[in-house]
Symmetry: C2
Subunit: 201 residues, 2 copies
Amino acid sequence: MTDDRDARHNDKMRRVQAARRVMMESKTVEKGLLIVHTGAGKGKSTAAFGMAVRAMGHGMKVGVVQFVKGAMTTGEKAIFDAFPELIEFRAMGEGFTWDTQDRARDVAMARTAWEEVQRMLADPDIAMVIADELNIVLRYDYLPIDEVVAVATARAPMKHLVVTGRNAPDALIAAADLVTEMTQVKHPFRAGVKAQAGVEF
Amino acid sequence: MTDDRDARHNDKMRRVQAARRVMMESKTVEKGLLIVHTGAGKGKSTAAFGMAVRAMGHGMKVGVVQFVKGAMTTGEKAIFDAFPELIEFRAMGEGFTWDTQDRARDVAMARTAWEEVQRMLADPDIAMVIADELNIVLRYDYLPIDEVVAVATARAPMKHLVVTGRNAPDALIAAADLVTEMTQVKHPFRAGVKAQAGVEF
């Protein structure tokens, strides 16, 4: 009985493996990807910083622009600071929009941060640019979506651009190569648990 | 006109900020979280390793057990290797199940990896344990879900346990504090793009 189950399993796995090999061999294109992490769940920025670690481990230099302060936390910063030659980061947001209470200043700040993204995209030494929480800025119309999509699309062919934030605009999703939506299934705030070191910051 | 829009925005943001302050002040509990990253999209393991970086940056030691080889890639490993006192990792899986073709061996391997998770959960020096791709092992019934939930629930109160992998079992979701589903919206493999250094590995 167990032998039977094992034999069926092994047979199935052999077929899956063969199909997977054929699938992988058909993938031959190398290109810089436009990657979007969106959705109301957690993990959008965290996964982007995880990608930064992966790229840095291959000796690829990463540029990070934070459109909203606080997305990259003291936790990541302490580790990234150990690799100054592999990562450049600019915290541009002076606080979440609901803390600044000044739309005109937010618009100006978004513009400055966006110029920093463009500078990193133009830098041949930087292989991956992370525009962290750019979607939030687009959501509030602090930057014109047409301009953002035009710049993203015109970037150098091998450059990876990762954009995070909930409510990614449709035009950005349409232009992207890889889009993942992080959906909240269950959140501990509902049970009165506070933000904790090593988890939220 | 613009002044009007700015005034309305600033007023709205003031109300959002006040509501947020009240919400945050009601959160007072500190506890170790059982966190699950599931779904068919990308970013489950990447976000878990991003959490590892965050925790390590706070001087918290992290333990990682990989149930499926290849989930933590050479990229992350090169960076993590720079902090041997802050991270301990065990790559237990000898290959994705569709590569091993041997159910009995997979079951034994899953058991060994699970014992390693339990050892790390019992180690007071380890603040966060990542059971990477444990859900896949549960999906194939390589380990009894009841046992896994019982151990997860009985862990020390301040210990964080992060479980990744698609198809998280309902019983694990029910026991978890924080569950995020990563949903695939768009994937570059569909356009013939191959797995690339710094992105997939």
